[in-house]
Protein backbone atom coordinates (compact mmCIF):
# COMPACT_ATOMS: atom_id res chain seq x y z
CA UNK A 1 0.00 0.00 0.00
CA UNK A 2 1.76 3.23 -0.96
CA UNK A 3 1.99 6.09 1.51
CA UNK A 4 1.21 9.60 0.42
CA UNK A 5 2.96 12.28 2.43
CA UNK A 6 0.38 14.99 3.08
CA UNK A 7 3.01 17.59 2.29
CA UNK A 8 3.20 16.43 -1.33
CA UNK A 9 -0.57 16.60 -1.86
CA UNK A 10 -0.55 20.07 -3.50
CA UNK A 11 1.96 18.88 -6.12
CA UNK A 12 -0.06 15.74 -6.73
CA UNK A 13 -3.29 17.71 -7.15
CA UNK A 14 -1.59 20.05 -9.62
CA UNK A 15 -0.32 17.17 -11.74
CA UNK A 16 -3.65 15.30 -11.67
CA UNK A 17 -5.71 18.36 -12.62
CA UNK A 18 -3.34 19.19 -15.48
CA UNK A 19 -3.07 15.76 -16.98
CA UNK A 20 -6.73 14.92 -16.56
CA UNK A 21 -7.72 18.16 -18.31
CA UNK A 22 -5.27 17.63 -21.15
CA UNK A 23 -6.51 14.06 -21.64
CA UNK A 24 -10.15 15.16 -21.82
CA UNK A 25 -9.35 17.88 -24.35
CA UNK A 26 -7.33 15.41 -26.44
CA UNK A 27 -10.32 13.08 -26.54
CA UNK A 28 -12.62 15.94 -27.47
CA UNK A 29 -10.27 17.14 -30.20
CA UNK A 30 -10.30 13.77 -31.97
CA UNK A 31 -13.96 12.95 -31.53
CA UNK A 32 -16.61 13.61 -34.16
CA UNK A 33 -19.52 13.87 -31.78
CA UNK A 34 -19.26 13.36 -28.06
CA UNK A 35 -22.78 13.44 -26.73
CA UNK A 36 -23.95 13.36 -23.16
CA UNK A 37 -23.80 11.01 -21.22
CA UNK A 38 -20.98 9.17 -23.08
CA UNK A 39 -17.77 8.87 -21.14
CA UNK A 40 -16.03 7.85 -24.34
CA UNK A 41 -17.01 9.12 -27.81
CA UNK A 42 -18.49 6.73 -30.37
CA UNK A 43 -16.99 8.38 -33.42
CA UNK A 44 -13.52 9.67 -34.04
CA UNK A 45 -12.41 12.00 -36.79
CA UNK A 46 -8.64 12.09 -37.15
CA UNK A 47 -8.54 13.82 -40.52
CA UNK A 48 -10.55 16.75 -39.27
CA UNK A 49 -8.34 16.88 -36.19
CA UNK A 50 -5.20 17.12 -38.28
CA UNK A 51 -6.85 19.80 -40.39
CA UNK A 52 -7.82 21.73 -37.25
CA UNK A 53 -4.28 21.62 -35.93
CA UNK A 54 -2.96 22.62 -39.33
CA UNK A 55 -5.34 25.59 -39.53
CA UNK A 56 -4.17 26.71 -36.13
CA UNK A 57 -0.57 27.16 -37.22
CA UNK A 58 -0.89 30.77 -38.45
CA UNK A 59 -2.73 31.64 -35.23
CA UNK A 60 -0.04 29.91 -33.20
CA UNK A 61 2.63 31.78 -35.09
CA UNK A 62 1.00 35.19 -34.55
CA UNK A 63 0.42 34.55 -30.86
CA UNK A 64 3.95 33.27 -30.39
CA UNK A 65 5.55 36.20 -32.22
CA UNK A 66 3.61 38.73 -30.16
CA UNK A 67 4.45 36.98 -26.88
CA UNK A 68 8.10 36.54 -27.81
CA UNK A 69 8.42 40.21 -28.76
CA UNK A 70 6.75 41.31 -25.55
CA UNK A 71 9.09 39.11 -23.59
CA UNK A 72 12.22 40.32 -25.41
CA UNK A 73 11.35 44.02 -25.44
CA UNK A 74 10.17 43.70 -21.86
CA UNK A 75 13.54 42.52 -20.57
CA UNK A 76 15.39 45.06 -22.72
CA UNK A 77 13.34 47.74 -20.97
CA UNK A 78 13.14 46.16 -17.51
CA UNK A 79 16.87 45.80 -16.96
CA UNK A 80 17.87 49.45 -17.46
CA UNK A 81 14.67 50.66 -15.77
CA UNK A 82 15.48 48.51 -12.75
CA UNK A 83 19.03 49.90 -12.68
CA UNK A 84 17.67 53.45 -12.94
CA UNK A 85 15.24 52.89 -10.07
CA UNK A 86 17.92 51.14 -7.98
CA UNK A 87 20.38 54.00 -8.27
CA UNK A 88 18.21 57.06 -8.37
CA UNK A 89 17.50 59.23 -5.31
CA UNK A 90 14.83 58.12 -2.86
CA UNK A 91 12.07 60.58 -3.83
CA UNK A 92 12.41 59.96 -7.58
CA UNK A 93 12.48 56.22 -6.94
CA UNK A 94 8.97 56.20 -5.50
CA UNK A 95 7.68 58.33 -8.39
CA UNK A 96 9.28 56.04 -10.99
CA UNK A 97 7.92 52.90 -9.35
CA UNK A 98 4.42 54.38 -9.25
CA UNK A 99 4.69 55.43 -12.89
CA UNK A 100 5.64 51.95 -14.04
CA UNK A 101 3.05 50.22 -11.84
CA UNK A 102 0.29 52.59 -12.91
CA UNK A 103 -0.71 50.73 -16.11
CA UNK A 104 -1.37 47.63 -13.98
CA UNK A 105 -3.93 49.55 -11.92
CA UNK A 106 -6.08 50.50 -14.90
CA UNK A 107 -8.60 47.81 -15.82
CA UNK A 108 -7.72 46.31 -19.24
CA UNK A 109 -11.29 46.88 -20.45
CA UNK A 110 -10.68 50.61 -19.91
CA UNK A 111 -7.04 50.85 -20.96
CA UNK A 112 -7.74 48.72 -24.03
CA UNK A 113 -10.34 51.19 -25.28
CA UNK A 114 -8.02 54.10 -24.56
CA UNK A 115 -5.01 52.47 -26.22
CA UNK A 116 -7.06 51.60 -29.29
CA UNK A 117 -8.30 55.21 -29.64
CA UNK A 118 -4.72 56.48 -29.24
CA UNK A 119 -3.33 54.07 -31.80
CA UNK A 120 -6.12 55.02 -34.25
CA UNK A 121 -5.21 58.67 -33.72
CA UNK A 122 -1.57 58.07 -34.63
CA UNK A 123 -2.52 55.63 -37.37
CA UNK A 124 -0.81 52.76 -35.61
CA UNK A 125 -3.77 50.49 -34.89
CA UNK A 126 -4.60 47.04 -36.19
CA UNK A 127 -1.05 45.74 -36.46
CA UNK A 128 1.21 43.44 -34.48
CA UNK A 129 3.34 46.31 -33.19
CA UNK A 130 0.33 47.97 -31.60
CA UNK A 131 -0.70 44.70 -29.96
CA UNK A 132 2.86 44.16 -28.71
CA UNK A 133 2.90 47.68 -27.27
CA UNK A 134 -0.41 47.13 -25.48
CA UNK A 135 0.69 43.75 -24.08
CA UNK A 136 3.98 45.26 -23.04
CA UNK A 137 2.27 47.92 -20.95
CA UNK A 138 0.41 45.31 -18.96
CA UNK A 139 3.40 42.95 -18.61
CA UNK A 140 6.09 45.51 -17.81
CA UNK A 141 5.06 46.13 -14.17
CA UNK A 142 5.45 42.43 -13.38
CA UNK A 143 8.69 42.04 -15.32
CA UNK A 144 10.17 45.14 -13.73
CA UNK A 145 9.11 43.94 -10.28
CA UNK A 146 11.09 40.74 -10.78
CA UNK A 147 14.15 42.56 -12.14
CA UNK A 148 14.05 45.01 -9.22
CA UNK A 149 13.71 42.31 -6.59
CA UNK A 150 16.82 40.55 -7.93
CA UNK A 151 18.79 43.79 -8.09
CA UNK A 152 17.89 44.89 -4.57
CA UNK A 153 19.16 41.56 -3.27
CA UNK A 154 22.66 42.17 -4.62
CA UNK A 155 25.53 43.30 -2.46
CA UNK A 156 26.09 46.98 -3.23
CA UNK A 157 29.75 46.52 -2.45
CA UNK A 158 30.17 44.65 -5.74
CA UNK A 159 29.29 47.82 -7.63
CA UNK A 160 31.41 49.96 -5.34
CA UNK A 161 34.38 47.67 -5.88
CA UNK A 162 33.93 47.97 -9.66
CA UNK A 163 33.76 51.74 -9.41
CA UNK A 164 36.91 51.64 -7.32
CA UNK A 165 38.59 49.74 -10.14
CA UNK A 166 37.79 52.61 -12.46
CA UNK A 167 34.66 51.40 -14.24
CA UNK A 168 32.02 53.87 -15.35
CA UNK A 169 28.35 53.53 -14.42
CA UNK A 170 27.44 52.20 -17.86
CA UNK A 171 30.23 49.61 -17.71
CA UNK A 172 29.11 48.51 -14.26
CA UNK A 173 25.57 48.09 -15.57
CA UNK A 174 26.52 46.04 -18.60
CA UNK A 175 29.37 44.02 -17.08
CA UNK A 176 28.30 43.50 -13.47
CA UNK A 177 24.63 44.31 -12.91
CA UNK A 178 23.26 42.58 -16.01
CA UNK A 179 25.05 39.25 -15.41
CA UNK A 180 23.89 39.34 -11.80
CA UNK A 181 20.34 39.95 -12.94
CA UNK A 182 20.42 37.23 -15.59
CA UNK A 183 18.39 34.64 -13.68
CA UNK A 184 15.81 37.26 -12.77
CA UNK A 185 15.61 38.40 -16.38
CA UNK A 186 14.97 34.83 -17.56
CA UNK A 187 12.11 34.68 -15.09
CA UNK A 188 10.85 38.11 -16.16
CA UNK A 189 10.95 37.01 -19.82
CA UNK A 190 8.99 33.89 -18.95
CA UNK A 191 6.40 35.91 -17.01
CA UNK A 192 6.09 38.46 -19.86
CA UNK A 193 5.63 35.65 -22.36
CA UNK A 194 2.87 33.95 -20.41
CA UNK A 195 1.02 37.20 -19.66
CA UNK A 196 1.06 38.19 -23.33
CA UNK A 197 0.21 34.69 -24.55
CA UNK A 198 -3.03 34.67 -22.58
CA UNK A 199 -4.23 38.18 -23.46
CA UNK A 200 -7.68 38.39 -25.04
CA UNK A 201 -9.37 41.73 -24.47
CA UNK A 202 -6.39 43.97 -25.26
CA UNK A 203 -5.77 42.07 -28.48
CA UNK A 204 -9.43 42.39 -29.51
CA UNK A 205 -9.51 46.12 -28.81
CA UNK A 206 -6.09 47.14 -30.12
CA UNK A 207 -5.76 44.56 -32.88
CA UNK A 208 -8.97 45.83 -34.41
CA UNK A 209 -9.69 42.44 -35.98
CA UNK A 210 -6.46 42.58 -38.02
CA UNK A 211 -4.39 40.65 -35.48
CA UNK A 212 -5.96 37.35 -34.57
CA UNK A 213 -4.46 35.27 -31.78
CA UNK A 214 -5.27 31.90 -30.29
CA UNK A 215 -7.06 33.18 -27.14
CA UNK A 216 -9.37 35.29 -29.34
CA UNK A 217 -10.44 32.29 -31.40
CA UNK A 218 -10.74 30.08 -28.32
CA UNK A 219 -13.14 32.52 -26.67
CA UNK A 220 -15.17 32.90 -29.85
CA UNK A 221 -15.43 29.11 -30.33
CA UNK A 222 -16.27 28.40 -26.67
CA UNK A 223 -20.02 28.54 -27.29
CA UNK A 224 -19.95 27.27 -30.85
CA UNK A 225 -21.10 23.88 -32.08
CA UNK A 226 -17.64 22.99 -33.37
CA UNK A 227 -16.27 21.65 -30.10
CA UNK A 228 -13.76 19.47 -31.91
CA UNK A 229 -11.98 22.50 -33.36
CA UNK A 230 -12.42 24.31 -30.05
CA UNK A 231 -10.67 21.49 -28.18
CA UNK A 232 -7.80 21.44 -30.69
CA UNK A 233 -7.20 25.15 -30.25
CA UNK A 234 -7.50 24.91 -26.47
CA UNK A 235 -4.84 22.20 -26.46
CA UNK A 236 -2.39 24.30 -28.45
CA UNK A 237 -3.12 27.39 -26.35
CA UNK A 238 -2.59 25.37 -23.18
CA UNK A 239 0.39 23.25 -24.20
CA UNK A 240 2.65 25.96 -25.62
CA UNK A 241 3.05 27.92 -22.36
CA UNK A 242 3.29 24.61 -20.48
CA UNK A 243 6.15 23.61 -22.77
CA UNK A 244 7.80 27.01 -22.36
CA UNK A 245 7.56 26.56 -18.57
CA UNK A 246 9.28 23.19 -18.69
CA UNK A 247 11.93 24.50 -21.12
CA UNK A 248 12.56 27.48 -18.85
CA UNK A 249 13.27 25.10 -15.97
CA UNK A 250 15.56 22.95 -18.08
CA UNK A 251 17.60 26.01 -19.15
CA UNK A 252 17.86 27.40 -15.63
CA UNK A 253 18.64 24.05 -14.08
CA UNK A 254 21.43 23.53 -16.58
CA UNK A 255 23.05 26.86 -15.82
CA UNK A 256 22.67 26.18 -12.09
CA UNK A 257 20.75 29.36 -11.56
CA UNK A 258 17.49 27.78 -10.45
CA UNK A 259 18.31 28.08 -6.78
CA UNK A 260 19.40 31.67 -7.28
CA UNK A 261 16.18 32.57 -9.06
CA UNK A 262 14.19 30.93 -6.32
CA UNK A 263 15.88 32.68 -3.45
Amino acid sequence: MFKVDIKTVPNLLAKISLFATICVFIVQSISKRWFWPQLWPNNFEFEETLSNFGDAIPLLWTTFIVAALVSLIGIILSAPLAWLIYNIGQKYRIVLILLVLFPALIPPVVSGVGYSIWFIKIDFDGNIAAVVAAHLLISLPYMLGIALSILFRQDRELFEASAGLGWSGDQIFFRIALPLMRAGLYLAAFVGFTISWGQYLLTVLVGNGQVVTLPMVVVSLATSADQTRFAALVLITMLVPALVTVLYHKVLNKTGEYEFANT
Binding site: G89, I117, E160, G198
Partner: protein
Protein backbone atom coordinates in the same frame (compact mmCIF):
# COMPACT_ATOMS: atom_id res chain seq x y z
CA UNK B 1 35.80 58.81 -7.14
CA UNK B 2 32.61 60.27 -5.66
CA UNK B 3 31.16 59.06 -2.39
CA UNK B 4 29.83 55.55 -3.11
CA UNK B 5 26.54 56.20 -1.33
CA UNK B 6 25.73 59.17 -3.56
CA UNK B 7 22.53 58.61 -5.54
CA UNK B 8 22.92 58.62 -9.35
CA UNK B 9 26.59 57.72 -9.00
CA UNK B 10 26.31 54.87 -11.48
CA UNK B 11 23.91 56.66 -13.81
CA UNK B 12 25.38 58.53 -16.74
CA UNK B 13 23.33 61.36 -18.26
CA UNK B 14 22.99 59.34 -21.45
CA UNK B 15 21.66 56.34 -19.55
CA UNK B 16 19.09 58.43 -17.69
CA UNK B 17 18.01 60.18 -20.90
CA UNK B 18 17.59 57.02 -22.96
CA UNK B 19 15.87 54.97 -20.27
CA UNK B 20 13.70 57.81 -19.02
CA UNK B 21 12.82 58.72 -22.58
CA UNK B 22 11.80 55.16 -23.42
CA UNK B 23 9.59 55.06 -20.33
CA UNK B 24 8.01 58.41 -21.22
CA UNK B 25 7.17 57.22 -24.76
CA UNK B 26 5.69 54.03 -23.38
CA UNK B 27 3.53 55.89 -20.90
CA UNK B 28 1.98 58.24 -23.46
CA UNK B 29 -0.85 55.85 -24.41
CA UNK B 30 -1.40 55.12 -20.70
CA UNK B 31 -2.00 58.73 -19.81
CA UNK B 32 -3.96 59.26 -23.00
CA UNK B 33 -6.26 56.37 -22.17
CA UNK B 34 -6.73 57.75 -18.65
CA UNK B 35 -7.55 61.18 -20.07
CA UNK B 36 -9.87 59.63 -22.66
CA UNK B 37 -11.77 57.62 -20.08
CA UNK B 38 -12.13 60.62 -17.77
CA UNK B 39 -13.33 62.71 -20.69
CA UNK B 40 -15.82 60.01 -21.68
CA UNK B 41 -17.03 59.69 -18.10
CA UNK B 42 -17.68 63.45 -18.13
CA UNK B 43 -19.84 63.18 -21.26
CA UNK B 44 -23.69 63.16 -21.32
CA UNK B 45 -24.63 64.63 -17.92
CA UNK B 46 -21.17 65.28 -16.58
CA UNK B 47 -19.25 63.23 -14.05
CA UNK B 48 -21.46 63.85 -11.01
CA UNK B 49 -24.66 63.65 -13.01
CA UNK B 50 -23.64 60.34 -14.55
CA UNK B 51 -22.63 59.01 -11.14
CA UNK B 52 -25.92 59.94 -9.50
CA UNK B 53 -27.89 58.31 -12.33
CA UNK B 54 -25.59 55.37 -12.95
CA UNK B 55 -28.36 52.79 -12.63
CA UNK B 56 -30.88 54.73 -14.75
CA UNK B 57 -32.44 52.80 -17.68
CA UNK B 58 -30.44 54.77 -20.28
CA UNK B 59 -27.24 54.03 -18.33
CA UNK B 60 -26.52 50.78 -16.54
CA UNK B 61 -30.21 49.99 -16.26
CA UNK B 62 -30.12 48.84 -12.66
CA UNK B 63 -27.19 46.51 -13.17
CA UNK B 64 -24.36 48.58 -11.71
CA UNK B 65 -24.82 48.20 -7.92
CA UNK B 66 -25.58 44.48 -8.10
CA UNK B 67 -22.67 43.92 -10.48
CA UNK B 68 -20.31 46.01 -8.34
CA UNK B 69 -21.14 44.14 -5.13
CA UNK B 70 -20.97 40.80 -6.89
CA UNK B 71 -17.57 41.54 -8.45
CA UNK B 72 -16.01 42.90 -5.26
CA UNK B 73 -17.37 40.01 -3.20
CA UNK B 74 -16.12 37.48 -5.75
CA UNK B 75 -12.66 39.07 -5.74
CA UNK B 76 -12.47 39.22 -1.93
CA UNK B 77 -13.72 35.69 -1.30
CA UNK B 78 -11.70 34.03 -4.08
CA UNK B 79 -8.49 35.81 -3.08
CA UNK B 80 -8.97 35.09 0.61
CA UNK B 81 -9.75 31.39 0.24
CA UNK B 82 -6.87 30.95 -2.22
CA UNK B 83 -4.55 32.72 0.20
CA UNK B 84 -5.57 30.55 3.17
CA UNK B 85 -4.93 27.42 1.13
CA UNK B 86 -1.64 28.77 -0.21
CA UNK B 87 -0.38 29.76 3.26
CA UNK B 88 -0.97 26.31 4.69
CA UNK B 89 0.41 24.54 1.61
CA UNK B 90 3.53 26.71 1.43
CA UNK B 91 4.36 26.02 5.09
CA UNK B 92 3.89 22.27 4.57
CA UNK B 93 5.85 22.17 1.32
CA UNK B 94 8.76 24.17 2.70
CA UNK B 95 8.89 22.02 5.85
CA UNK B 96 8.93 18.96 3.59
CA UNK B 97 11.83 20.41 1.59
CA UNK B 98 13.76 21.29 4.77
CA UNK B 99 13.23 17.83 6.26
CA UNK B 100 14.37 16.11 3.06
CA UNK B 101 17.25 18.55 2.62
CA UNK B 102 16.23 19.63 -0.88
CA UNK B 103 18.93 22.06 -1.93
CA UNK B 104 16.72 23.81 -4.45
CA UNK B 105 13.75 24.39 -2.21
CA UNK B 106 10.25 23.64 -3.33
CA UNK B 107 9.87 22.37 -6.89
CA UNK B 108 7.20 24.67 -8.25
CA UNK B 109 7.30 23.45 -11.86
CA UNK B 110 3.75 22.06 -11.94
CA UNK B 111 2.35 25.15 -10.27
CA UNK B 112 4.15 27.32 -12.80
CA UNK B 113 2.62 25.28 -15.60
CA UNK B 114 -0.83 25.87 -14.09
CA UNK B 115 -0.17 29.60 -13.77
CA UNK B 116 1.09 29.82 -17.35
CA UNK B 117 -2.19 28.50 -18.78
CA UNK B 118 -4.28 31.45 -20.04
CA UNK B 119 -7.41 32.28 -18.08
CA UNK B 120 -9.61 31.88 -21.15
CA UNK B 121 -8.32 28.34 -21.65
CA UNK B 122 -8.60 27.38 -17.99
CA UNK B 123 -12.15 28.75 -17.94
CA UNK B 124 -12.89 26.48 -20.90
CA UNK B 125 -11.47 23.58 -18.92
CA UNK B 126 -13.59 24.43 -15.87
CA UNK B 127 -16.64 24.54 -18.16
CA UNK B 128 -15.70 21.19 -19.65
CA UNK B 129 -15.51 19.57 -16.21
CA UNK B 130 -18.34 21.28 -14.35
CA UNK B 131 -21.06 22.16 -16.84
CA UNK B 132 -24.30 20.24 -16.92
CA UNK B 133 -23.08 18.43 -20.04
CA UNK B 134 -19.53 18.19 -18.79
CA UNK B 135 -17.32 15.36 -17.59
CA UNK B 136 -18.45 15.32 -13.96
CA UNK B 137 -22.07 15.29 -15.07
CA UNK B 138 -21.38 12.28 -17.32
CA UNK B 139 -19.60 10.48 -14.49
CA UNK B 140 -22.59 11.23 -12.24
CA UNK B 141 -24.89 9.65 -14.81
CA UNK B 142 -22.72 6.53 -14.96
CA UNK B 143 -22.91 6.33 -11.16
CA UNK B 144 -26.66 6.65 -11.31
CA UNK B 145 -26.77 10.01 -9.55
CA UNK B 146 -28.48 11.93 -12.37
CA UNK B 147 -30.78 10.96 -15.24
CA UNK B 148 -30.44 13.96 -17.49
CA UNK B 149 -28.15 16.99 -17.72
CA UNK B 150 -30.63 19.31 -15.99
CA UNK B 151 -30.45 17.11 -12.89
CA UNK B 152 -26.78 17.97 -12.44
CA UNK B 153 -26.34 21.10 -10.28
CA UNK B 154 -25.56 24.38 -12.05
CA UNK B 155 -21.94 24.93 -11.18
CA UNK B 156 -20.99 27.29 -14.01
CA UNK B 157 -22.79 30.32 -15.47
CA UNK B 158 -24.73 30.35 -12.23
CA UNK B 159 -26.08 33.38 -10.38
CA UNK B 160 -23.90 32.74 -7.34
CA UNK B 161 -20.63 32.85 -9.22
CA UNK B 162 -19.62 29.38 -8.06
CA UNK B 163 -18.00 28.50 -11.39
CA UNK B 164 -16.06 31.75 -11.33
CA UNK B 165 -15.03 31.13 -7.74
CA UNK B 166 -13.71 27.68 -8.62
CA UNK B 167 -11.89 29.12 -11.63
CA UNK B 168 -10.19 31.89 -9.66
CA UNK B 169 -9.38 29.59 -6.76
CA UNK B 170 -7.71 27.09 -9.07
CA UNK B 171 -5.70 29.82 -10.81
CA UNK B 172 -4.81 32.11 -7.93
CA UNK B 173 -3.86 29.34 -5.51
CA UNK B 174 -0.84 28.11 -7.55
CA UNK B 175 0.27 31.70 -8.21
CA UNK B 176 0.15 32.56 -4.52
CA UNK B 177 1.79 29.28 -3.59
CA UNK B 178 4.71 29.95 -5.92
CA UNK B 179 5.37 33.39 -4.45
CA UNK B 180 4.92 32.32 -0.83
CA UNK B 181 7.17 29.26 -1.07
CA UNK B 182 9.98 31.37 -2.54
CA UNK B 183 9.63 33.97 0.18
CA UNK B 184 9.45 31.36 2.92
CA UNK B 185 12.32 29.25 1.63
CA UNK B 186 14.71 32.23 1.60
CA UNK B 187 14.79 32.66 5.37
CA UNK B 188 12.69 29.98 6.98
CA UNK B 189 14.99 27.12 5.94
CA UNK B 190 17.61 28.46 8.37
CA UNK B 191 15.22 29.37 11.16
CA UNK B 192 12.97 26.29 11.20
CA UNK B 193 15.67 23.79 12.31
CA UNK B 194 16.76 26.23 15.01
CA UNK B 195 13.21 26.54 16.28
CA UNK B 196 12.70 22.75 16.17
CA UNK B 197 15.90 22.34 18.12
CA UNK B 198 14.46 24.74 20.71
CA UNK B 199 11.44 22.48 21.10
CA UNK B 200 8.95 24.12 18.72
CA UNK B 201 6.61 21.72 16.92
CA UNK B 202 5.27 22.21 13.37
CA UNK B 203 2.21 24.28 14.31
CA UNK B 204 4.14 26.54 16.67
CA UNK B 205 6.86 27.14 14.06
CA UNK B 206 4.26 27.91 11.40
CA UNK B 207 2.39 30.33 13.66
CA UNK B 208 5.33 32.20 15.18
CA UNK B 209 8.02 31.95 12.53
CA UNK B 210 6.53 31.23 9.11
CA UNK B 211 3.61 33.66 9.43
CA UNK B 212 5.69 36.77 10.32
CA UNK B 213 7.96 36.00 7.37
CA UNK B 214 5.00 35.45 5.05
CA UNK B 215 2.81 38.32 6.17
CA UNK B 216 4.09 41.05 3.81
CA UNK B 217 4.17 38.67 0.84
CA UNK B 218 0.72 37.31 1.71
CA UNK B 219 -0.72 40.83 1.71
CA UNK B 220 1.04 41.54 -1.57
CA UNK B 221 -0.26 38.48 -3.42
CA UNK B 222 -3.75 38.99 -2.03
CA UNK B 223 -3.70 42.51 -3.41
CA UNK B 224 -2.44 41.38 -6.82
CA UNK B 225 -5.07 38.65 -6.96
CA UNK B 226 -7.87 40.95 -5.79
CA UNK B 227 -6.97 43.58 -8.41
CA UNK B 228 -6.69 40.97 -11.12
CA UNK B 229 -10.08 39.39 -10.40
CA UNK B 230 -11.66 42.83 -10.18
CA UNK B 231 -10.44 43.64 -13.68
CA UNK B 232 -10.75 40.21 -15.22
CA UNK B 233 -12.83 39.76 -18.38
CA UNK B 234 -12.06 36.41 -20.05
CA UNK B 235 -13.16 34.03 -17.32
CA UNK B 236 -16.42 35.89 -16.55
CA UNK B 237 -17.15 36.04 -20.29
CA UNK B 238 -17.00 32.24 -20.43
CA UNK B 239 -18.17 31.19 -16.98
CA UNK B 240 -20.19 34.12 -15.69
CA UNK B 241 -23.97 34.37 -15.74
CA UNK B 242 -26.09 36.97 -17.53
CA UNK B 243 -27.29 38.41 -14.25
CA UNK B 244 -25.42 39.55 -12.31
CA UNK B 245 -22.63 40.27 -14.77
CA UNK B 246 -19.11 40.91 -13.59
CA UNK B 247 -18.17 44.59 -13.89
CA UNK B 248 -15.63 44.15 -16.72
CA UNK B 249 -18.20 42.33 -18.83
CA UNK B 250 -20.77 45.04 -18.10
CA UNK B 251 -18.29 47.78 -19.00
CA UNK B 252 -17.32 46.08 -22.25
CA UNK B 253 -20.94 45.65 -23.31
CA UNK B 254 -21.70 49.28 -22.46
CA UNK B 255 -18.64 50.51 -24.39
CA UNK B 256 -19.87 48.63 -27.47
CA UNK B 257 -23.18 50.53 -27.33
CA UNK B 258 -23.24 53.50 -29.73
CA UNK B 259 -25.23 55.79 -27.38
CA UNK B 260 -23.32 58.51 -25.54
CA UNK B 261 -25.00 57.72 -22.23
CA UNK B 262 -24.00 54.06 -22.26
CA UNK B 263 -20.42 54.85 -23.23
CA UNK B 264 -20.21 57.53 -20.56
CA UNK B 265 -21.51 55.02 -18.02
CA UNK B 266 -18.96 52.47 -19.20
CA UNK B 267 -16.16 55.01 -18.76
CA UNK B 268 -17.50 56.02 -15.35
CA UNK B 269 -17.59 52.43 -14.11
CA UNK B 270 -14.07 52.03 -15.45
CA UNK B 271 -12.97 55.05 -13.42
CA UNK B 272 -14.70 53.63 -10.33
CA UNK B 273 -12.88 50.34 -10.84
CA UNK B 274 -9.61 52.25 -11.06
CA UNK B 275 -10.43 54.17 -7.87
CA UNK B 276 -11.31 50.98 -5.99
CA UNK B 277 -8.09 49.32 -7.17
CA UNK B 278 -5.99 52.35 -6.26
CA UNK B 279 -7.62 52.56 -2.82
CA UNK B 280 -7.12 48.85 -2.19
CA UNK B 281 -3.49 49.19 -3.32
CA UNK B 282 -2.86 52.10 -0.95
CA UNK B 283 -4.40 50.26 1.99
CA UNK B 284 -2.52 47.11 1.04
CA UNK B 285 0.81 48.90 0.72
CA UNK B 286 0.28 50.56 4.07
CA UNK B 287 -0.42 47.21 5.71
CA UNK B 288 2.64 45.69 4.02
CA UNK B 289 4.80 48.57 5.22
CA UNK B 290 3.45 48.15 8.74
CA UNK B 291 4.12 44.42 8.77
CA UNK B 292 7.71 44.86 7.65
CA UNK B 293 8.54 47.50 10.27
CA UNK B 294 11.56 46.40 12.31
CA UNK B 295 11.47 45.78 16.05
CA UNK B 296 12.04 49.06 17.93
CA UNK B 297 15.64 49.81 18.72
CA UNK B 298 16.78 51.36 22.01
Amino acid sequence: MANPVTPNMYLSSRFKFVTGGALAVLLIPVFYSLWYVLAQANNAEGFIGNLSRIDAPENANGEFLESFLFTVLLAVISSTVALMAALISSALLVEHSIKNKFKKGVDGTWFEVLVSIPHAVWAAAIFLWLSQSGVLSRISFQLGLVENPADFPTLVRDNNGLGLFIHYLSKEYPFMLLVLTVVLWARYRYLSPVAASLGAGLIYRTRYLAWPILKPAALGVWLVSFSFILHSYEAPALLGSVKPRVLSVLVFELFKDPTIEKRATAALIGVLLLVVTAFASLVGLFLIWKSTRKVADV
